[in-house]
Amino acid sequence: MGEFKVHRVRFFDYMPAAIRAMAFNRRTERLALARADGALEIFNFADNYFQEKVIPGQDGRAVEALCWVGRRLFSAGLNGEITEYDLENLRPRYTVEAYGGPIWTISGNDQGTLLAVGCEDGTVKMFEVLEDRIQFQRNLDRQKGRIISLCWHPSASLIAIQLGPELLAQSSSEVVVWSIAFLSDHTIISGDSAGKVQIWDGLTGTLARTHLVTKWDVLALSVSQDESSLVAGTSEGTVVQFQFLSSTLDGQNKDWVRTRTFKNHSHDVRALVHTETAVVSGGMDTQLVVRPLLDKVEKNTQESAMRKMAFPHRSLVCCAKKAGLLLFQFPDHLELWRLGESDGHGDLPVKRKPEKLIQLKRKGEDHICCSALSPCGGWLAYSTVTSFRLYRLQNNTISITKVSKLPKDLRSAHQLCFSTDSSRLFASSINSSVVVVALNQPECKYLHTLKPKSGSREPVHLLFASEDGKWLATANTACEVQVYNLDKIKLHCTVPVYGSCPTAIAIHPTSSNLVVVHADQQIFEYSLVQKEYTEWSRRLQKQGLHSLWLERDTPITHVTFNPKHPAHIILHDMFMFCVIDQSLPLPEAKTRLFNQMILRSLPEPMRILHRHAFKMCKTFQNLMCVRLLEDHSLVVVERPLLDIMSQLPAPVRQKRFAT
């Protein structure tokens, strides 16, 4: 089919932050996850664990605990503040100072009426949850040490509080209870820094049972909703499961029995969630692990497969395909790189090394939430939750000048996109709207705001401007895909809403077909001219995608086209990139999906017989980005997990034989 010249880039030093806290909303099946840099991520467990929303962090905001109250998300941190988040505009809604020093823990009661926070000064403060804010209600009696962990009794009349550090008389060493759980039968379970999971009778205050699970700390506990299973995360990176089982057949005399140990982390497990079917864990090693419990799910299905989520489900790399520039987005700075060059043919020694042109530090304390580089390489834009900045670049002389006069509608953006000719900038704004700005030397001018008819308030997370400048496609987290006609400045059509969130969209440069890939790995092609799904898309849906395609566990994060071959769609996820040749037959269920090695070994005439539409390449792994430059060479940006691991602090030492 063809050769690609590939720029294999490994100099993007992306480093995710450690996972600090998690909270799972059982009703909406959303997992909220807080990282050490204060960033918040929302995963939709009902939609293939797709990372729907990211709220960027802020300097000084160290989230220690998270808590859902209904659909509202609260966090508390060592800065002593309680924050509620605006999940539609992806920013903190308001912040309330608790006046108790750093807050270690936050917990809402089951009724959703009260929030309790545990503070450094030993107080537990109760806040009433009101419609649009929270209001301080009262202080509980002040304890001697800081409140590390607290937990509501399901009936909400009681609260279990853990003080720390607690001094144990016999060992005379400080033992901190890191986490507690309070069950409806008044059993209190604690995990402490001595490596013990202890089960207490909450009524009498007596210790019922002690399980020593590690030599190090037990940092996190989580109980399943039916209170039959309990997981404890340790500093060794293990997650230990306990189950409430009876030792005899008649079901009497149930006891907490240690049943399983999972080792999916190399470092501390700081946050744990016990969902109905799985154990979700995260910690210092930055990966989110969903480990299904095999007694709860059907075996050998996609549901029973373990998932590790290491990379964000959106692109942190922007590529100026005409200029051969790469823009890397970090929370606190941007890096602009120029790709290297080779002699052109044959085996490719690098003639010119890639170089870092610009490292741009952000201003303010809010982290960067999105950034974009114009295709010509002349414009650079980034946004935080509070500010938006646009820069003019001169590549030849490597100069950067900030565009100072910005339209006031352009205050903040969830997603940014330049038109192909670099004359327009599209920025997704509040309430699913898109602000269009014209870029002219030397200032930029607000043109108009595009709004969907649906009135959805969910943020737009994907933007794509067509090559010919006629169309703009947007996708929001309510799964809506809108296409605007930029000539007429109005909504052209809304693609029929599919039940899974779009993860990548693109409009074909010549045929104006919109390709949408969803979190459940489905691919749709929608004709903007006919306003209907194309023939190929229908055929694909009719025949169904190959099972191996559907079983991939990372979403497609980018779709692009090859101008040389109009029938080719290029897309990639974390572990492969794929060229879909629409002119070839679709792979049937029993054909081999990954057939490149076989085709390679076959003589030319035989290949035709075995070819199918999905040409998948797994040569490159841990992909952050795959882009096609204008000279038809590919840029792949890899970030080997090993490199991430090597930057983590050393894990707790474990004694092994002969070490």
Binding site: M1, G2, E3, F4, K5, V6, H7, R8, V9, R10, F11, G340, S342, D347, L348, V350, K353, P354, V579, Q596, L599, R600, R607, R611, K615, C617, T619
Partner: protein, 726 residues
């Protein structure tokens, strides 16, 4: 094929404290096949409906009284008879609820047991051997009871058999380790006494079982060593000898059961029909040494027909009524239904064949011309060992001399006759059948030879060894005898065919072979195989020098000069170049070499061999080492030795022997001046081997580098590559 079906529990047991006693005194048949009476060893009698596993009635004697014999059912009167406290006979019917209200009669002597079988009257057997019909006894309960048994003789087992014409009370007794069988006919009363043949001292029968068939009473008894004997007594009986003299009771070995480790302790054998016996408490032949199996054996074909593991302790008790086996084990009394259809040959061949010591081990059956010629109505298959064929063979062999007779003959007869008879015996019979007797034959021959210096039958012995049925353990003196008589051919055969020659003997052979004069060696013939091998080897002495394993004598010489330096070696080396080097000439004669080769090929273990090797003198060691060196060099030159298919030592065997010899004698050799050259040569062997290995290591290293070069490709921070999609 007999089969054991799934068993079920009839009732629980209360075994005695010490666990040796099952707690069941007896199980007796009741009115039909579905009812049994179980008497426990304390106080109660219970009537069970077997298929329902349910007790129907139960009777108990008062506290303080005990039942001393199992209750029996008299089908004629529908009464139960039991004895309590030795002397009180109790008779009751099923409708009696309380035993105390039933009929009681006290007799004047202790009762051993009451027996009653269908078609016969109840019989009372007293402890001292007297027998009465119950009716006769009850008519005068206090009648005097005579003593039949001698002092210190006591009853071990008893039963009651009713034939068409007569009723028998049968019991066995023991007196000072002797066992007797008493056959008491009733009406008219006669008593016969038989003495059981003694088994190995100290063994007394574990169980007896009697059956009546074809006008003969067959007694089956099992010994702790697993032997099951059958004795057959005619119903009519011999003329009674009033003197009370016990007749010897002829017996035949029906089965020799595998016993595993140790002797059987609690086991029982029960005849099921003419061809089948049930045995409990013996190991299953294919299930290790656990003795907790119930097996049904076919005695005609010696085959195991069915087996079943029995859980819990087995007490050696077994009853069978109406195709059901009753076994107390652990804390239960189980009923196991069985089926013994008439055996057919085909079914008998189905399962495991009983290996009898007298039977062949027959790995391969060698057809004997004699057999085919003289036994034209030959057996359809050799595996069918019916009694009949065994008898025919016996009668046939008796036409000439039997094994036994030959053995006797060997002890006295002159050489020629012995030789002739042994040859005859060997040619006549199927050798496979004779294996144990061959051993006997050989050892008898050897012992005669040892006693009588004039007596020696080399060809017979050689022939015996050639059968490959002998081994060193069977006749341990044979090899040394052959050495003593300088019968090197026999020695060679022994070394070749005996798998178990101890290292001491091997060393003795080695010593004898090395030190014997070449004249002695060349006398007599040897196995042609080894001889022709050595001939080809020696014939190549003048062959062209090859280079194998990186070693050639010239290169060795170079290394030597490296090592020693001296100018004298140069001249020596020149000398070597003109005439064949001394290590290229076989240092021993042809026959000697052949014999040494045999020694090289015997199996040995280093640690056992070493101490014996130290017995060799330094001269012998040097000579042997020279010979080994010669072999090594020959082997190193060409890749020929093994290709001939002749019997020859392998290169590794040669090297192993060199190592062992050096281990044993190194200090001596270092001090011996004539060994110096040899050691230097051996040193150069080692050097060449080390060189070879190091060269191989280098090759391996460079190959690995190649491997690495292709596999590892460092990507680095940035690269531009070409990929191709198809």
């Amino acid at each position: 094929m007999a089969a054991l079906y799934e068993g079920y529990t009839l009732c629980g047991l209360a075994p005695a404290q010490n666990q040796s006693n099952s707690g069941v005194l007896g199980v007796e048949a009741e009115r039909d096949s579905d009812h049994v009476v179980v008497t426990d060893s304390t106080r109660s009698v219970t009537l069970y409906k077997v298929s329902d596993q349910k007790p129907l009635s139960s009777w108990t004697v008062k506290q303080g009284q005990t039942l001393t014999c199992s209750a029996v059912y008299n089908p004629q009167t529908k009464e139960y008879v039991a004895v309590s406290d030795g002397k009180v006979i109790r008779i009751w019917k099923q409708e009696h609820l309380l035993l105390d209200q039933a009929f009681k009669a006290t007799v004047s002597a202790d009762v051993w047991r009451v027996h009653c079988v269908a078609g016969g009257e109840p019989v009372v057997l007293f402890k001292r051997g007297a027998v009465r019909l119950l009716d006769a006894l009850l008519s005068a309960p206090q009648q005097p009871i005579e003593e039949v048994l001698a002092q210190e003789e006591s009853i071990r087992w008893s039963t009651n058999i009713v034939t068409e014409s007569q009723q028998f009370a049968i019991f066995t007794t023991e007196q000072k380790g002797d066992h007797f069988l008493y056959l008491q006919r009733l009406n008219p009363n006669t008593l016969q006494r038989y003495r059981l043949e003694r088994e190995e001292p100290g063994l007394s029968p574990l169980s007896f079982s009697a059956s009546y068939r074809d006008k003969h009473i067959r007694l089956l008894y099992l010994y702790p060593n697993g032997h099951v004997y059958q004795s057959v007594v005619s119903e009519r009986g011999l003329v009674t000898d009033e003197g009370g003299q016990a007749f010897p009771l002829p017996r035949s070995l029906l089965l020799s059961l595998p016993v595993g480790e140790g002797l059987l302790e609690a086991a029982s054998a029960q005849a099921l029909d003419e061809a089948h016996i049930a045995v409990v408490g013996v190991p299953h032949p294919s299930a290790g040494s656990g003795k907790d199996f119930l097996c049904i054996w076919n005695t005609n074909f010696q085959t195991l027909q069915a087996g079943k593991e029995i859980a819990g302790k087995i007490y050696g008790q077994l009853w069978s009524f109406w195709n059901k086996l009753f076994i107390p084990h652990g804390k239960t009394l189980s009923v196991i239904p069985y089926e013994c259809p008439k055996s057919s040959l085909a079914s008998a061949l189905g399962k495991m064949r009983q290996v009898k010591t007298e039977e062949s081990k027959a790995p391969t059956s060698v057809p004997s011309w004699n057999n085919i010629l003289h036994e034209e109505k030959a057996l359809p298959s050799r595996t069918v060992e019916t009694r009949k064929t065994r008898i025919t063979r016996k009668s046939q062999s008796s036409s000439s001399l039997t094994n036994y007779q030959v053995l006797e003959l060997i002890k006295t007869a002159p050489v020629e006759e012995v030789q002739r008879e042994v040859d005859l015996l060997l040619s006549r019979t199927d050798i496979q059948d004779l294996q144990p007797s061959l051993g006997q034959l050989a050892s008898t021959l050897v012992s005669r030879t040892l006693q009588d210096p004039a007596f020696y039958t080399p060809s017979s012995l050689a022939q015996l060894v050639h059968t490959r049925c002998l081994c060193h353990s069977v006749c341990p003196d044979l090899v040394l005898l052959a050495l003593e008589r300088k019968d090197y051919f026999l020695c060679q055969l022994c070394l070749q065919f005996f798998p178990d020659i101890p290292e001491a003997i091997t060393c003795a052979c080695l010593k004898a072979f090395i030190s014997m004069s070449d004249v002695d060696a060349e006398n007599g013939s040897l196995e042609p195989d080894g001889v022709s091998f050595m001939e080809t080897l020696i014939a190549r002495e003048r062959g062209p020098d090859g280079l194998l394993n990186g070693f050639s004598p010239t290169s060795a010489a170079e290394y030597r000069s490296d090592g020693l330096g001296g100018g004298g070696t140069r001249a020596q080396q020149d000398e070597e170049m003109t005439s064949p080097p001394p290590e290229q000439i076989c240092p021993v004669g042809l026959h000697k070499a052949v014999l040494l080769n045999e020694v090289l090929q015997t199996a040995y273990s280093d640690s056992f061999l070493l101490p014996h090797l130290k017995d060799l003198s330094s001269q012998q060691v040097v000579l042997f080492l020279q010979y080994l060196q010669f072999l090594y060099l020959k082997y190193s030159q060409d890749a020929f030795p093994q290709t001939h298919g002749l019997r020859s030592p392998s290169l590794s065997q040669i090297l192993d022997w060199v190592c062992v010899l050096l281990d044993a004698h190194f200090t001596v050799l270092v001090m011996t001046p004539e060994a110096k050259g040899l050691l230097v040569n051996l040193h150069s062997f080692v050097k060449s081997q080390v060189r070879l290995v190091s060269e191989l290591g280098k090759i391996e290293g460079s190959l690995q580098e190649l491997n690495k070069m292709t596999a590892k490709k460092d990507v680095g921070q940035y690269s531009i590559e070409i990929i191709e999609l198809f």
